[in-house]
């Protein structure tokens, strides 16, 4: 696969200054009121509003994996969801792909609600994750055909589509190869083919380069970038900043379930006066953690003062 020197980003109309309000003490962006102007060839595909997901936890009582996250994503765009391990990226993307149900909040994909219209949502998306493997005892062709049929494609259109896909992704040589015998790169190609066989408008990649070597990862990024060119809305989660720099048009930084910052790379760089995305990322994370610690200290002090007052 040819590797271009610059994978590049599509120029996006710069949205007006966000009126983003800060939450009470923790400086978290509120994206509720942001309405970017959209070029005529761009449609809004994904709306996430106050999305929350919590789980019962033996030690903590309740663990909040996602805390009122809101963002939008558009066609012909790659939206990067950046965050360290455990930030909530996978949870968010699993909700968007209807694998999980949100505890509260809402998410819509191409006009369909993930909670109430999951079947319709799944037809609109292709989902590739480091957790989505391929079947060891199926060939590449069988695997893609299987999912094509599940997506409701008829035999002949499916065959034509698959011939085209296999050609474009250079998979003809592994057509009859069983999954168990494939290399990691081959498996990744099959995963992508499986996810796009039904030509969905939205594609979700959850840490898709995890575990891949440099060459395979680069090839994957190339493929993802090409999808934008076909008008797709792509959400790409990663914890590797360089990948986000290469292909993402806009990014959202997520940490401990909260969306800390969002915008184009230029916007974020200007706002935080940090040219290096990785440094910017660290700064956001550390600032947030520091504020969290301060808030906990304040709460502890308040409780202690209250106790003293009551004892008097």
């Amino acid at each position: 696969m040819e590797i271009s020197g610059s994978i590049g980003r599509r120029p996006v109309a710069i949205p007006p200054e966000r009126p983003g309000t800060l939450s009470s003490s923790l400086n978290v962006r509120d994206c509720e009121s942001w309405h970017p102007p959209l070029p005529s060839n761009v449609t809004d595909m994904i709306h996430v509003r106050q999305l929350t997901k919590s789980y019962p936890d033996l030690r903590l009582g309740e663990f909040v994996a996602l805390d009122a996250v809101s963002f939008d994503a558009y066609s012909s765009e790659i939206y990067g969801l950046l965050g360290p391990n455990g930030a909530g990226k996978t949870t968010a993307l699993r909700i968007l792909s209807t694998i999980l149900q949100p505890t509260s909040g809402s998410a819509e994909i191409n006009g369909y609600d993930v909670a109430t219209e999951p079947a319709q949502v799944r037809r609109q998306i292709g989902f590739v994750s480091c957790n989505t493997a391929i079947y060891d005892r199926m060939t590449a062709w069988e695997m893609v055909e299987y999912f094509g049929r599940l997506y409701g494609m008829e035999s002949e259109p499916l065959r034509v589509r698959m011939e085209d896909l296999f050609g474009r992704l250079q998979m003809d040589e592994i057509r009859d190869l069983l999954g168990a015998k494939m290399s990691t790169g081959m498996k990744q190609k099959v995963s992508i083919a499986r996810a796009i066989v039904h030509d969905p408008p939205v594609l979700i990649f959850d840490e898709a380069t995890s575990g891949l070597d440099v060459m395979v990862a680069r090839a994957l990024l190339q493929s993802v970038a090409e999808l934008r060119g076909h008008g797709k809305c792509v959400i790409f989660s990663t914890h590797i900043m360089r990948e986000a720099e290469r292909i993402c048009d806009r990014v959202g930084v997520i940490h401990r379930g909260k969306l800390l910052a969002e915008g184009t790379l230029e916007e974020l760089q200007d706002k935080y006066e940090e040219k290096d995305l990785e440094e910017l990322f660290f700064r956001l994370i550390l600032d947030y953690d520091s504020q969290l610690d301060d808030a906990k200290r304040d709460d502890a002090q308040h409780d202690s003062n209250q106790g003293l007052l009551e004892s008097r």
């Binding site: 999980l100 999951p118 079947a119 799944r122 998306i125 493997a133 005892r137 069988e142 409701g152």
Partner: protein, 728 residues
């Protein structure tokens, strides 16, 4: 439901399983090899046993000079064998008695010393059986005394048992000939010692005789292989998919969860049926070959070729059974995160199924209404009757058996679908089992009412303690002792755990134990309901007793009558009605029901608490009735929000049972129950019908009461409402 997706998933899973060598081995290769190999081994062993000459040691036999003799020219007298062929099956070594002072040089001498020394554990060495004739054998025999020869064999060895049987038949024939000779010598007819011969005639047809063993074996094989055949595919299709990471891929496809479950279920069912059918087929073919080629062995086992119709019945019974087992395996395997873990979850299922499968093979277990209602066992018994040609009996109980099996199947499928909708089951991370932390959290983070886990803990604790108390309690000799024992059991071991756990694990005893004042009319209505349901309850008990007859309780009932003879009525009512009402309601409709309501289903909580309530009664007949009535009381607790009407119901119900029985014994109810001795309260139908009508009216009234739902019940109701709402 998109059946196309179900078919797609089914086709894919089948293709995937068929490409798995392990699956192919289990389903195809193993049955094709197993039974022929077993058959060949049996053939070899039987031949060996048939042809192998038993090594016999005889001590002191040559000195016996009777007519006919035992030993002739160093061999056993040929006249003592049924045929010349039988004579070749004994290889005898004969030794004389050892002189008292002579050294024991040979194994026979050593054995003789051991016998004379009175040792019980002897070493037969290379011999399979030893026969010892005392030195005074001939003298005692001539004098008409019992000379007491001894035969030594080792029952832990098959060869020794066979040798012993062969030698015994020789000795018995020899004894018979000696007797006949003595009779002839005394000019008495030979038939003196045998005045008549009993002739036994087998009325079973050839076909029935041949199918007797198959009728027990084939259903057992069917059950075991249907379950085993579901086992491995279920683990691979659920836990294996999770482990390989392909489950998430499938869940993100347009296939709905129920479609995925049905597709996988159909796959597992198919392999379960294939495994069972191939095993049955292989067993049938091997059995036919053995029956044909080993007629002697076959006739000893009453083994004929398996009836062809048997296969048809087996395959028919296989369908619902496979569905049931497959759904259970699928639901259990969904809990596991890996193949290894999946096997751990499924092993208990095997342990549960084995006793149910082996029960029909126990002597005395026959097909009846009671046994036909037991899952798995009922199916086996019906199949047994079919295989034995008892079509009328089988047909009579096919309906209840089918009903139970289909109900179990439906519940198992429902559970499997629920598992695939549960995020905790599909994506839950492995947690260290930290029991102390869980218990600590139960206390430190207690809610107003107990958790589901606490409710189960309480119920299981009560069951276990009650079970052991029943075993350990001494038999009371008077009413006072009986009263004390029963009171301790109820207060300490039923109410006690519930009250203690309420104090430790909840913040509101009032809400947990439903200690609220109910609507004023609920109290008298509860009493009326108990009276109205009394004839229904007694009718129910009679039906249960008919299905599951009670063991002969005459001794027990006499003992109880003796104990109660000196008791006052108020004491009996206090013991049998008031105390149980208070203690059992606090436990089952108080603590346990409150905790179970966090499951999110009011009726689920009522049913589970009632099942536990029923089990504590320990006797099957009472348990079934108590469980059913427990649901009525549980419903009353939920609808009224108070325990008081439940206690009133319980008191009236229990008191009525005793009082009415007493009145019947005294002859005061002849206008209702008729003349004659009253064993049970068998009310006339019109009386029961009136009671039922009143009870239904009261239940309708209860249904109309406003109910306070638990948070989980409210949430579930909201989900159900949105799921059924019309699409906009």
């Amino acid at each position: 439901m998109n059946w196309r997706n179900v078919r797609l998933i089914l086709a894919r899973e089948i293709r995937d399983q068929l490409r798995d060598r392990r699956t192919l081995f289990m389903i195809v290769v193993l049955p094709l090899l197993l039974y022929p190999l077993l058959g060949m081994s049996l053939f070899q062993v039987t031949n060996f046993m048939r042809e192998h000459a038993a090594k016999v040691l005889v001590i002191g036999g040559e000195q016996i000079t009777t007519d006919p003799p035992l030993i002739v020219k160093g061999k056993i007298n040929p006249k003592l064998f049924a045929s010349p062929k039988a004579a070749k099956l004994i290889d005898m070594d004969s030794f004389s008695h050892l002189a008292p002072e002579a050294p024991a040089e040979s194994p026979a001498d050593r054995l003789q010393r051991q016998i004379l020394g009175g040792q019980t554990e002897l070493e037969l060495g290379d011999y399979e059986v030893a026969v010892y004739f005392p030195s005074d054998f001939a003298e005692k025999l001539a004098a008409g005394e019992d000379p007491s020869p001894q035969v030594f064999h080792n029952t832990s060895q098959e060869k020794s048992q066979i040798a012993s049987r062969r030698m015994m038949s020789v000795l018995i024939r020899w004894k018979q000939l000696l007797v006949e000779e003595k009779l002839r010598a005394n000019k008495l007819p030979i038939t003196t010692t045998r005045p008549f011969v009993i002739e036994q005639k087998d009325v079973a047809s050839e076909e029935h005789r041949g199918s007797a063993l198959w009728s027990k074996l084939l259903p057992f094989v069917l059950i075991i292989w249907a379950l085993t055949g579901a086992f491995y595919p279920a683990v691979d299709l659920c836990a294996g998919e999770k482990e390989r990471g392909t489950l998430e891929t499938l869940l993100s496809s347009p296939a709905q969860r129920s479609e995925i479950v049905l597709g996988k279920l159909a796959t597992i069912m198919l392999f379960s049926i294939a495994t069972a059918a191939l095993n049955l087929g292989s067993l049938a073919v091997t059995g036919t070959l053995i029956a044909t080629n080993l007629p002697e062995a076959a006739s000893q086992l009453n083994l004929g070729p398996p009836p062809l119709s048997a296969m048809a019945w087996m395959l028919l019974a296989l369908l619902p059974l496979s569905a049931f087992f497959s759904a259970l395996c699928l639901a259990l395997a969904a809990l596991a995160r890996s193949t290894k873990e999946g096997q751990y979850y499924l092993m208990p299922l095997m342990f549960l199924a084995m006793p149910l499968a082996m029960l029909p093979m126990a002597p005395g277990v026959e097909l009846s209404l009671g046994t036909s209602l037991i899952p798995v066992t009922g199916v086996m018994l019906v199949l047994r009757e079919l295989l034995q040609g008892n079509y009328a009996d089988a047909l009579r109980y096919t309906a209840p058996t089918l009903l139970v099996t289909l109900t179990c199947m439906a519940l198992a499928i429902r559970w499997a679908v629920a598992q695939f909708h549960s995020e905790t089951v599909l994506f839950g991370e492995a947690e260290r089992l930290d029991l102390m932390l869980r218990l600590k959290r139960m206390v430190t983070h207690r809610g107003l009412t107990p958790t589901v886990a606490a409710a189960f803990m309480c119920a299981i604790l009560i069951l276990i303690v009650r079970f052991f108390m029943v075993l350990m309690m001494p038999r009371p000799s008077n009413f006072g002792d009986f009263f004390l024992l029963q009171a301790i059991t109820l207060i300490v071991f039923v109410a006690g755990p519930a009250l203690l756990m309420t104090a430790l694990l909840t913040r509101s005893a009032r809400r947990t134990l439903l200690l609220r004042r109910p609507r004023w009319e609920a109290i008298p209505i509860a009493a009326v309901l108990a009276m109205a349901l009394h004839p229904v309850a007694t009718a129910l008990l009679l039906v249960v007793k008919k299905i599951y007859p009670m063991p002969d309780g005459t001794v027990l009932s006499e003992e109880l009558k003796t104990l109660f003879a000196d008791a006052e009525m108020w004491q009996v009512v206090l013991l049998l009605a008031v105390l149980p009402a208070i203690c059992e309601e606090l436990a089952f409709r108080g603590f346990i029901l409150s905790g179970l309501r966090h499951l999110g289903s009011k009726w689920g909580a009522i049913v589970i608490s009632s099942i536990f309530f029923g089990i504590t009664h320990l006797m099957l007949q009472q348990s079934v009735t108590a469980a059913i009535l427990g649901m009525v009381i549980g419903y009353m607790a939920v609808q009224t929000g108070s325990l008081l009407p439940c206690m009133v119901y319980h008191v009236v119900h229990n008191a009525l049972m005793f009082v009415m029985m007493q009145l019947a014994d005294d002859g005061d109810l002849t206008w209702l129950l008729g003349e004659g001795k009253i064993e049970d309260l068998d009310y006339p139908l019109w009386f029961t019908a009136i009671g039922a009508v009143i009870a239904i009216a009261i239940m309708r009234w209860l249904h109309g009461l406003p109910v306070e739902l638990s948070p989980e019940e409210s949430r579930q109701a909201a989900i159900d409402k949105s799921a059924h709402a019309p699409l906009g």
